[in-house]
C-alpha cells in the first residue's frame, strides 16, 4: 500500500466525478482537506485573482483585429485605478473627460457600435474578444449596416457602453466584457446587446450572452447568437425582456439584413 493511501482516508465514490465538475470525493487527512486538493484549489483561486488584476493586452488585440478600414478608439472610464474600479462601480460606468472629448470629436451616426471592455477579467478579453469582434464585423460587412470604430475601454462596467453608444449616436451597442471570474472559469467573456443606448439604461433593456470561452460557448456560436439578438433588436425596435432567443441551428443571422435606417 502506498504511503499516501495510509495517510489519506479515501472516498470510494470517485467514479461519480463523471457527472459533475464539483470537487467531490476529495478524501481527507484526518477530517481535513488533503494538501494536494488544497493546492489544486489554491492554484485555481490564484488564476481567478490574477484575472481580476491583469491588464488587457491592448497591442495584441489591436493587431488581431481585422479592422483595417476603421480606426480603433482607446477609452478609459472615470476609475483611474483597479482598486477604485472595484469599489466604485459608479465610476466604471462613466467615461473620463479625455475619452468623452475624443468621442465628441468623432464622426457619429451608426447602426452598430462594438465595445471591448476589460471588466473583471482581462484574460477573457485577451483570449476571445478579438475573435468575436472579427466574426461580427465579417457578418456586418456583408450587410448594409454601418459600424462605428471599435471602442476599447479600460476599467469599465457594462453600462459604460450606453454613454459610448449615445455619444457616437449608435442605434445598437454590443459590449464584450470580461465576466466575474470563477474558479473553473477565470476567462469567461460576456456580451451585452443594448438597443438605443443612453446613460441610465437598466439591465432589463439588455440581452446577455455569457460564458464565451474555451470549454464554454464557442466563438462561432457566440457570434451567431449576438448577431441574432442584434437582428431581433432592430426588428422589434428594442432589446431586453421582449427579445426571445429562438434561433434555429441552420440560420445565419444578419446576412439577409437590409436596413431601413
Amino acid at each position: 500500500m502506498s504511503k499516501n493511501k495510509l495517510i489519506i482516508t479515501q472516498d470510494p465514490w470517485e467514479k461519480l466525478r463523471q457527472y459533475t465538475d464539483a470537487r467531490i470525493a476529495l478524501g481527507r487527512a484526518g477530517i481535513s482537506l488533503p494538501l494536494k486538493e488544497y493546492l489544486r484549489f489554491k492554484l485555481a483561486h490564484a488564476r481567478a485573482r490574477d484575472a481580476v488584476y491583469q491588464p488587457v493586452q491592448t497591442g495584441d488585440i489591436l493587431s488581431s483585429l481585422e479592422t483595417d478600414k476603421r480606426n480603433v478608439l482607446l477609452l478609459h472610464s472615470m476609475a483611474p485605478t483597479r482598486m477604485e474600479y472595484l469599489t466604485r462601480p459608479d465610476m466604471g460606468r462613466v467615461l473620463n473627460h479625455t475619452s468623452r472629448d475624443l468621442l465628441c470629436s468623432e464622426k457619429s451616426g451608426f447602426d452598430l457600435c462594438i465595445v471591448i471592455c476589460d471588466g473583471l477579467s482581462a484574460p477573457a478579453v485577451n483570449a476571445t474578444a478579438a475573435a468575436v469582434t472579427n466574426g461580427l464585423i465579417k457578418l456586418v460587412d456583408q450587410t448594409t449596416l454601418s459600424a462605428s470604430p471599435v471602442c476599447m475601454v479600460t476599467n469599465g462596467r457594462v453600462a459604460i457602453g450606453d454613454e459610448i453608444g449615445s455619444l457616437l449616436k449608435a442605434k445598437m451597442v454590443v459590449m464584450l466584457i470580461g465576466e466575474r471570474p470563477g474558479l473553473s472559469s477565470p476567462n469567461s467573456l460576456g456580451a451585452y446587446i443594448t438597443c438605443k443606448p443612453k446613460p441610465g439604461t437598466t439591465d432589463e433593456a439588455r440581452n446577455c450572452i455569457s460564458n464565451i470561452r474555451h470549454g464554454g460557448m464557442t466563438v462561432s456560436k457566440a457570434v451567431r447568437k449576438i448577431a441574432y439578438l442584434v437582428e431581433e433588436g432592430f426588428r422589434i425596435g428594442e432589446t431586453g425582456v421582449g427579445v426571445k432567443d429562438k434561433m434555429n441551428d441552420g440560420y445565419t443571422p444578419l446576412l439577409s439584413f437590409r436596413t431601413d435606417y
Partner: protein, 450 residues
C-alpha cells in the same frame, strides 16, 4: 447645533465598509466615526421608537417593525441608552432567558445600533448566549449542535451531478439544516423535477432532514399548486419595501408563501417552513436604501424575517462583492454583526461564509470567520464540495470545513440527523466520521441513474 438624525448618526457610527462609502453616507474620517459612536452611545433606546429611520407612511417594513413592537417586553431596557444596553448585554443579568424574553421588545434599528458599538468579542459573547431552536423534520439550533445546509448546485441542474454532490455531503455528515439547491433554471417544470428527486431521496433513505429549491416565492407557490412536494418556502429578503419590491415580493406575498407551504403539513416534528437569505448591500444595489447604512438595513431584513418564524435564515455575507464589503476584515465583521443582530432578534441565524474572486479575501479569511462563528453559536453554515460552487461561481465553506468546526468545538449535528448518520455507518459510536465502506447502502445512489 441641530441634532443629527438617527439615520445619519447610525450611518456615521458604522464601522468602515465600502458599501457605505459608495452610498456617500459613511463617516468622513476615523475621528468623525468615533465621535458618532460616542453620540450613539448616549442616545436613549426610546428615541428609536419615536424616530423611524424610514418614514412609517412610506415603507411597510417600518410599519411592520413599529406595529409589532412589544412594549411590555421592552420595559427591561427602556430606560437605557444604546451604550448602557451594550454594557448590560455583557453582564450575567442578561442570560439566555432574559434576552429571549426581551427580544420582541427590540427593534432591528436598536440591535443594529448596539452592534456598531461592539467589538468582535462582544458580538461573539452576547450571541453565544442566545439559543434559537427551530424544527421541521429535525431540531436545529440546540446547544452544542452545529448544522449544515448541503448545497449541491450544478450549472445545468443535471440530476446525476446533483446527487453526486449530495452523496459526498451526506458522507461527511452534512445536510441536517436542509438539502438546498440553487436551481440554474427557474421554470416550474424544472423546480418540480428537482423537488421530486429530493423527496424520493429523503424518503428512500429515511433521512431526517428537509429539502428546498431556492427559487422565487411565486414559483414555489406554483410548484405547490402543481402538486410538487415542497418542504420549505425560500425567499431572498431585504430591509426596505422598495428593495423587496425589486425582489418581486411584499410582506403579503411572503405570508401567502408561508400559508401555502404550511398547508402541505410535511413537517414531522415542527412547523417552521420558511427559509430566508439576506446580505448587507442588497438595498443599495437595488437603489432602495433611503440613505440608511447597509448594516442597519440588514437588521431590518431580520425584522421582516421574524414575522414568519423561519426554520433557517442566513446572511450571504461575502457574495455581493468588494463594492459593499471590500476585504476579509470587512466580511468577517459583517458576518459577526449579522449573526449577532439576527440572534438578538430571535432568529435561527446561519451564515454563508463566502467571498468572490474580485474581493480581497481567501480561505484563511473564511477559516477565521468560521472559527469565530462556531464560538458565537451560529446555527448553520453552507456545505459545498471543496468550498467551490460551480454554479454560482463563488467560494463558501466545504464539507471538510464543517467537519473541522464540529471536531474543534465538539459540536454535533441535529440529534435526529446524528442518529441517522450513525445508523448509516457514516459516524461511529463516538459521533465521529468514519471511513465509508464499499458496501455502504448509501453508495447505491451511485448505481441509480436519474
Amino acid at each position: 447645533m441641530k441634532k443629527m438624525s438617527l439615520k445619519k448618526l447610525l450611518a456615521k457610527a458604522s464601522p468602515l465598509r465600502s458599501g457605505d462609502v459608495l452610498a456617500g453616507i459613511a463617516a468622513e474620517n476615523e475621528e468623525d466615526r468615533v465621535t458618532a459612536q460616542m453620540a450613539l452611545a448616549d442616545t436613549p433606546l426610546q428615541r428609536f421608537l419615536s424616530e423611524p429611520i424610514i418614514p412609517y407612511e412610506e415603507d411597510e417594513v417600518s410599519r411592520l417593525i413599529l406595529d409589532e413592537h412589544d412594549n411590555v417586553a421592552f420595559q427591561t431596557v427602556s430606560s437605557f441608552t444604546v451604550g448602557e444596553f451594550r454594557d448590560w448585554l455583557l453582564t450575567d443579568q442578561a442570560d439566555s432567558q432574559t434576552i429571549a424574553r426581551l427580544s420582541p421588545g427590540l427593534t432591528p434599528e436598536m440591535v443594529a445600533a448596539v452592534s456598531k458599538l461592539m467589538r468582535i468579542q462582544d458580538l461573539i459573547q452576547v450571541a453565544s448566549k442566545c439559543n434559537v431552536i427551530t424544527a421541521f423534520r429535525n431540531t436545529i439550533g440546540l446547544p452544542n449542535t452545529f448544522s449544515v445546509r448541503l448545497q449541491p448546485n450544478h450549472p445545468t441542474d443535471n440530476l446525476n451531478g446533483i446527487v453526486a454532490s449530495i452523496l459526498d455531503g451526506l458522507c461527511y455528515g452534512c445536510g441536517d439544516a436542509v438539502i438546498g439547491i440553487n436551481p440554474a433554471t427557474d421554470s416550474v417544470a424544472n423546480i418540480k423535477q428537482l423537488l421530486f428527486m429530493l423527496d424520493d431521496l429523503i424518503t428512500q433513505y429515511k433521512i431526517p432532514t428537509q429539502s428546498c429549491i431556492l427559487t422565487h416565492v411565486t414559483t414555489t407557490i406554483e410548484a405547490i399548486e402543481a402538486g410538487a412536494p415542497v418542504d420549505l418556502c425560500f425567499q431572498s429578503i431585504a430591509g426596505t419595501e422598495k428593495a423587496n419590491k425589486s425582489f418581486g415580493i411584499t410582506l403579503d406575498l411572503l405570508k401567502q408563501g408561508m400559508d401555502a407551504t404550511l398547508s402541505q403539513n410535511r413537517g414531522t416534528i415542527g412547523t417552521n417552513v420558511m427559509y430566508f437569505e439576506t446580505g448587507q448591500g442588497s438595498a443599495l444595489s437595488a437603489d432602495a436604501h433611503h440613505g440608511v447604512d447597509q448594516q442597519t438595513l440588514e437588521a431590518r431584513a431580520y425584522g421582516v424575517a421574524r414575522k414568519y418564524k423561519p426554520l433557517l435564515i442566513n446572511t450571504v455575507v461575502g457574495f455581493i462583492g468588494p463594492e459593499y464589503l471590500y476585504n476579509g476584515k470587512q466580511i468577517q465583521r459583517a458576518g459577526l454583526e449579522d449573526h449577532f443582530c439576527g440572534k438578538l432578534l430571535g432568529l435561527p441565524m446561519g451564515v454563508d461564509i463566502c467571498y468572490t474572486n474580485h474581493a480581497e479575501a481567501d480561505q484563511d479569511d473564511m477559516d477565521i470567520l468560521l472559527t469565530l462563528l462556531g464560538n458565537a453559536g451560529c446555527n448553520f453554515i453552507m456545505g459545498i464540495p471543496g468550498a467551490d460552487d460551480i454554479m454560482l461561481n463563488y467560494q463558501s465553506t466545504s464539507f471538510h470545513d464543517a467537519a473541522y468546526i464540529r471536531n474543534l468545538l465538539n459540536l454535533a449535528p441535529a440529534p435526529e440527523f446524528a442518529a441517522w448518520l450513525e445508523g448509516m455507518s457514516i459516524f461511529n459510536h463516538q459521533g465521529k466520521l468514519q471511513s465509508i465502506q464499499n458496501g455502504n447502502t448509501l453508495l447505491r445512489l451511485t448505481s441509480e441513474a436519474f
